[in-house]
């Protein structure tokens, strides 16, 4: 799998847009990982207000200006990158795990297990994604943790359905049939035969979802149901800049721009992976 | 002697960015007279389907063809004139009848499309079709015309494809594995049909297949193709009854039969070369038990009785 991802990345070099996306994502990940240690204004980045520097626009001292509490916006965004990345990773990983396991079971066992899992998934999938999260959050209460739980609940059905459909095709292939005829254990068939052969669509979906979840989490934060102040969540920053958008336009703008660029970059990555894996591998 | 197809020195190379990457056809000479069938037999990768495409002018964009292909009165086939000959004086039938028909059109609609391209009017076509379908042995003509491809069996569709190919009364019919996807009994009927039509209409036929039995059924002459070159060519009975080239012998010896004791089928060691680029001498030498130093020089097709063989070890 690692070699495939590496191979995917070498493929990227061919196209200017994919090069830009790679660059954006690399920066994003680096910033998220290095966090506190590279902030231009560390204390402000982490939340300390600086009432002396209110309403400063983009300029030499503060490249992106300061927010409504005088904190360097760039530092805030950089600090928030970590939360944005890790929370979306967490959501997608959990959703993918749960969804994959359920999807594999549905594909392998068929019958009522398949019907049950698919019907529940359909139920969840028929809600507009954000609405589901809203309902969940309203039941659980606002806050980052709850918004993440809400997102996970909304996201797993996509994986369940995707993996179930892919695994059903794999199950029909001769090598699975032979394994069953030879009396190979069910556990082994699911994890050694079905799972390794559905990783391509899984990876593609995973990459694209990272961007989508960032957007969703940001949206939840924007309407106040996600991360709460003083967190540096980008959606929250957009929300916080909303009331002063006409005077201090830079707050919402740059926060929104950050979200836009990262989501775009993840979607590009998803497209590149799809092109790399699908037509060539579907022999 | 009414020569319909004459191929001289056909070579096809594939290139990328001006650099040759493979030579799937390295020199083919072939001629077919009217009313006769010449078969080409060989395994995967020998270049037989590519030969058909070369004649039809349907090679991929990065293919470089040299040599001369001429068709009866038309003369040499060039990129300029191939378009008007394709589907007209030369027709082709393929292995998978389902892939030759568009699934969203009925048979009648597709035949009409072809007929109109040949200059038949709508009325003329409608009058023509029942006869043409009857000619290929179909009975429920009205139902078939109104059917979609997926509603017909493989054998019936293959007959429709033959009817479609013969609409323009071509001088040359190329058949590329026409019976491979069909059951043996249905395939046998199709072969009999092709022979009958050939006798009635007098077209020349190039029959390409990996199935020696099928080729032998319809061809007066057989050419054995290996790695892009003909290694043996001659009357069917002689090539099959008294093969000279070691590859031909190996190929025929590999055909299973109840008269051969189990475990004794001829097994030619090694595999067909996937790319002959950079190879010198006979392409078969690395697998040949008769190989001698002279085989480092490429043997040409030389006459041996009634057949021609490309092998140094075959004495005249």
């Amino acid at each position: 799998m690692i070699t495939k991802v590496k191979a995917g990345f070498t493929f990227i070099r061919g196209d200017i847009w994919t090069a830009i996306s790679t660059f954006i994502l690399t920066v994003f990940v680096l910033v998220a990982v290095l966090g506190k240690w590279i902030l231009p204004y560390p204390s402000e980045g982490t939340g300390t207000a600086n009432v002396d520097h209110l309403h400063i626009g983009p300029g030499a001292a503060h490249w992106l200006g300061t927010d409504e509490l005088g904190r360097d916006l760039l530092s805030r965004l950089m600090y928030g990158a970590r939360s944005v990345l890790f929370t979306s990773l967490l959501v997608v990983i959990v959703a993918a795990l749960v969804g994959t396991v359920l999807g594999l079971m549905a594909a392998f066992f068929g019958g009522w297990i398949d019907s049950a899992i698919m019907n529940i998934s359909s139920l969840f999938l028929s809600f507009p994604p954000l609405l589901l999260s809203l309902v969940a959050v309203s039941l659980l209460g606002p806050g980052l943790k709850n918004s993440l739980i809400a997102l996970m609940i909304s996201w797993w059905p996509w994986y369940a359905r995707l993996i179930r459909n892919e695994a059903r095709f794999v199950k029909l292939r001769p090598f699975v049939e032979i394994a069953e005829s030879m009396g190979v254990s069910r556990r082994r068939i699911i994890f050694r035969h079905l799972l390794p052969n559905v990783t391509s669509p899984l990876i593609i979906q995973f990459a694209a979802d990272l961007g989508t979840v960032i957007l969703a989490a940001g949206s939840l934060a924007f309407i106040g149901l996600g991360a709460q102040p003083p967190a540096a969540d980008w959606g929250l920053l957009v929300a916080q800049g909303r009331s002063v958008i006409f005077d201090q336009w830079w707050i919402s703008t740059f926060a929104g721009l950050a979200i836009f660029l990262v989501v775009l970059a993840f979607n590009s990555l998803g497209d590149v992976l799809r092109d790399h894996f699908d037509p060539r591998r579907s022999k | 002697m009414n020569t319909v197809l004459d191929i001289k020195g056909l070579k096809v190379d594939f290139e990328i960015k001006g650099r040759k990457i493979s030579s799937p056809i390295r020199g083919i000479d072939l001629s077919i007279n009217a009313g006769e069938t010449h078969g080409i037999v060989g395994e995967t990768g020998c270049g037989k389907s590519l030969t058909a495409l070369a004649i039809m002018g349907m090679l991929p964009a990065n293919a470089l063809r040299t040599g001369c292909i001429s068709l009866g009165d038309v003369g040499e086939l060039t990129p300029e004139n191939i378009q008007q000959n394709r589907g007209n004086t030369i027709s082709m039938i393929f292995q998978n009848p389902h892939s030759a028909f568009n699934p969203v059109f009925t048979i009648e609609q597709q035949l009409l499309y072809v007929a109109r391209a040949k200059g038949f009017s709508s009325d003329e076509s409608h009058a023509l079709f029942p006869d043409r379908l009857k000619e290929v042995g179909l009975v429920e003509i009205h139902r078939i015309l109104k059917s979609y491809p997926h509603e017909l069996s493989g054998g019936m569709l293959q007959r429709c494809m033959i009817a479609m190919a013969l609409l323009s009364k071509p001088k040359l019919l190329i058949a590329d594995e026409p019976t491979t996807a069909l059951d043996a009994t249905i395939g046998g009927q199709v072969l009999t049909l092709l022979k009958r039509l050939q006798k009635e209409q007098g077209f020349a036929m190039l029959f390409i297949s990996h199935d020696v039995t099928a080729v032998a059924r319809v061809s007066e002459r057989i050419a054995v193709l290996y790695a892009g070159k003909i290694v043996e060519d001659g009357p069917t009975a002689e090539v099959l009854g008294d093969p000279q080239h070691p590859y031909t012998k190996g190929l025929l010896g590999a055909i299973p039969s109840r008269n051969k004791a189990r475990g004794t089928l001829a097994a030619i060691p090694g595999t067909v070369p996937s790319n002959t680029l950079g190879m010198t001498g006979c392409a078969f030498k690395s697998r040949c038990h008769l190989a001698v130093p002279q085989c480092d020089e490429e043997p040409n097709l030389t006459p041996h009785g009634h057949t021609s063989v490309a092998c140094w070890e075959v004495r005249t």
Binding site: P196 | E43, K260, A267
Partner: protein
């Protein structure tokens, strides 16, 4: 009969349409067949015939709707899941698409070892078994680390076979195992399957739409069409004598112009007699499996001139009345006359019938002299498989002189006589049951009736038994032995051939075909050996002993004494004990090698008499030979 590995009893399979529960497709109806241990059973049919469906039901992959299936004697419907698991280990599966039948994410090692997981073997044991298997199927240990996209189609199929063999199965299902492979790769895989079958004593159920493959590899087969078996039986029976229209159509689809050259009136039951024999004796390999007996590589260029001695023209009428195909006369080592009739040419090989026995007799002369065989040893001492048969205590010399006392009738017209059984066993006549096939199997059933060594009794099976002993003692096939010790030293210019049974064992008692000239060369060698002029084949001592006749103590038979007073049968030659001390080899329907040492004449005659044997024909032949020899005295 040992217990069958698979019994399919009146099995049906219906498929119900998912959407419309009333729509039922009957894929298979009332199918029955059995497979015995070590047997290859072929199912042939076109698409939709139900052959794959029935195979899957038989192997428990798909449940049957009706009927009973017994695997290794147990009804699979009654097995518990633990018993089913055990049963599964005795089965192997090889499917059509070799590439798709391997998991693309697994290494070859993992693919093959999958069947061994849960068998409580240590890692080392698994590794060594996998390494053993990969080499058994013709690949190397290096291939074990690769994945399927690094292998060719043929190699993938070999891996699939190795996987099937992992759990040491007894029965393997092969569903179109070579249909997606090139012709030459198919040949390799089919050969491999046969080698494995012989070595590991496997049984195969093989399914294919390709009749040639099924006919080549199966012992017994069934033809399916539209869910039912339309015809079933031994392969030779179905292919030579198809009854059902569909079978005939299917066979017809595989005939090319050049290979269906059996004459329209070819008669399978009576090809040895007239009228079919005239053609059949010159084309034996067209309808029976044969092996070649090779001449020396650097044999002399074939002669083109045909010598003619006009003094023999007076015998033309007699030759015609004796249904002659060829006559070759040699005198004092020189070819003096050659005559061919009808379709017969100098290069035509003609069936020798029992003249074949005399080649074996001469062969044994050499083998005994070279101390490779000891004539006083018994059959049982050479072949443990024969210890319980009637031949057990007979000696080699008993067999050579036909004094073994066995229950054997040479009545060619009686379909139940032992000679007819031997004909069926060797593929010369059609058999209805697999139990009939196999020369060796037949030989083990012969019973003793009397004391060996006392009485002359002509019995063809003795010669086949001697051929088996020679193969066993030398470790080579009979055709190779004959080539090395007889055909090459004789200086024959053309290959001879011998018919073989379904296992590849030669019918030494009568299945050899040679050209007339080559046979005359052989006869000349015998004469020269007796005259002391040559020792290429055997020693002068053997020749003297043979020409001298058998032990006088042996009781002779009336018909022999009537024709040759004082004559006998010795070392598979007929010894006349006449004034000229002639000896001869004779085969039914008129085949002869006549050797006259007094006039130094050798005569070879091929004929196709309308009947096997008659005193009149025999007497006329001998009279003719003597007249011809006397021309040279």
């Amino acid at each position: 009969m040992t217990n069958p590995v698979l019994e399919v009893i009146d099995v049906s399979k219906e498929f119900v349409n998912d959407r419309n529960k009333h729509e039922v497709t009957r894929a298979v109806q009332g199918v029955s067949f059995t497979i015995s241990p070590g047997e290859v059973f072929g199912l042939v049919g076109e698409s939709g015939s139900g052959k794959t469906t029935i195979a899957r039901c038989a192997f428990g992959i798909t449940p049957a709707t009706g009927g009973q299936i017994k695997l290794f004697g147990e009804d699979i419907a009654t097995l518990s899941s633990a018993q089913r698991k055990k049963s599964r280990k005795r089965l192997g599966f090889v499917f059509q698409d070799p590439v798709a039948s391997l998991n693309p994410r697994m290494t070859i090692f993992e693919v093959i070892s999958e069947g061994l997981i849960g068998a409580s073997l240590s890692k080392e044991e698994i590794r060594s078994r996998v390494e053993y298997l990969i080499e058994k199927v013709g690949l190397t240990k290096e291939h074990l680390a690769r994945k399927r996209h690094e292998l060719s189609g043929g190699q993938c199929q070999r891996v699939a076979i190795a996987r099937a063999l992992a759990s040491e199965p007894e029965l393997i299902l092969l569903d179109e195992p070579t249909s997606s492979l090139d012709l030459s790769v198919q040949a390799q895989i089919l050969n491999l399957l046969e080698d494995l079958r012989k070595e590991l004593n496997l049984s195969y159920l093989i399914i294919s739409h390709n009749l040639e493959v099924i006919a080549h590899i199966s012992d017994r087969m069934a033809v399916m069409s539209q869910g039912v078996i339309v015809e079933a039986g031994t392969t030779s029976q179905i292919m030579s004598n198809p009854q059902h229209e569909f079978t005939k159509t299917l066979i017809g689809a595989y005939e090319t112009n050049s290979t269906s050259n059996l004459p329209d009136d070819f008669d399978w039951e009576n090809w040895q007699s007239a009228p079919t024999n005239r053609w059949a004796y010159q084309h034996v390999s067209d309808f029976i499996k044969t092996q070649n007996i090779n001449p020396a590589q650097t044999s002399a260029a074939p002669r083109t001139n045909r010598p003619h001695d006009s003094r023999l023209d007076q015998h033309e009428v007699a030759l015609e009345s004796l249904y002659t195909d060829a006559l070759v006369v040699m005198n004092r080592g020189v070819l003096v006359d050659e005559r061919y009739y009808g379709e017969m040419r100098p290069e035509s090989a003609h069936l020798l019938q029992s003249v074949s026995k005399s080649l074996l007799g001469t062969l044994y002369g050499t083998l005994i002299e070279k101390k490779l065989i000891e004539p006083s040893r018994t059959v049982g001492a050479y072949l443990p498989q024969m210890i319980h048969s009637g031949y057990s205590t007979a000696t080699i010399q008993n067999l050579l002189d036909m004094t073994a006392a066995v229950d054997f009738s040479e009545d060619y017209d009686d379909p139940n006589s032992q000679i007819s059984q031997l004909d069926r066993a060797s593929g010369w006549r059609i058999s209805n049951s697999l139990d009939d096939l196999g020369i060796r199997k037949f030989l083990t059933t012969v019973k003793q009736n009397g004391v060996h060594g006392e009485q002359f009794q002509y019995c063809s099976a003795n010669t086949d038994l001697l051929a088996w002993i020679a193969e066993s003692a030398l470790g080579k096939s009979y055709s190779e032995i004959l080539s090395e010790y007889i055909w090459q030293p004789t200086g024959a210019s053309q290959s001879a051939s011998v018919t073989v049974d379904h296992e590849g064992h030669a019918l030494a008692n009568g299945g050899i075909s040679t050209t007339a000239r080559d046979l005359a060369l052989f006869g000349q060698e015998i004469l020269d050996t007796y005259l002391g002029k040559s020792t290429k084949l055997v020693s002068n001592a053997w020749a003297k002993d043979t020409f001298g006749g058998a032990d006088p103590a042996i009781k002779s038979v009336d018909y022999m004494q009537a024709m040759h007073p004082g004559g006998s049968y010795h070392n598979q030659w007929w010894i006349t004990n006449s004034q000229h001390q002639e000896i001869y080899a004779v085969g039914i329907y008129g085949q002869y090698i006549w050797i006259d040492p007094a006039t130094e004449t050798v005569i070879v005659k091929f004929s196709t008499l309308p009947i096997a044997l008659s005193t009149k024909f025999s007497e006329e032949h001998i009279a003719l030979f003597r007249k011809i020899s006397n021309l040279y005295s």
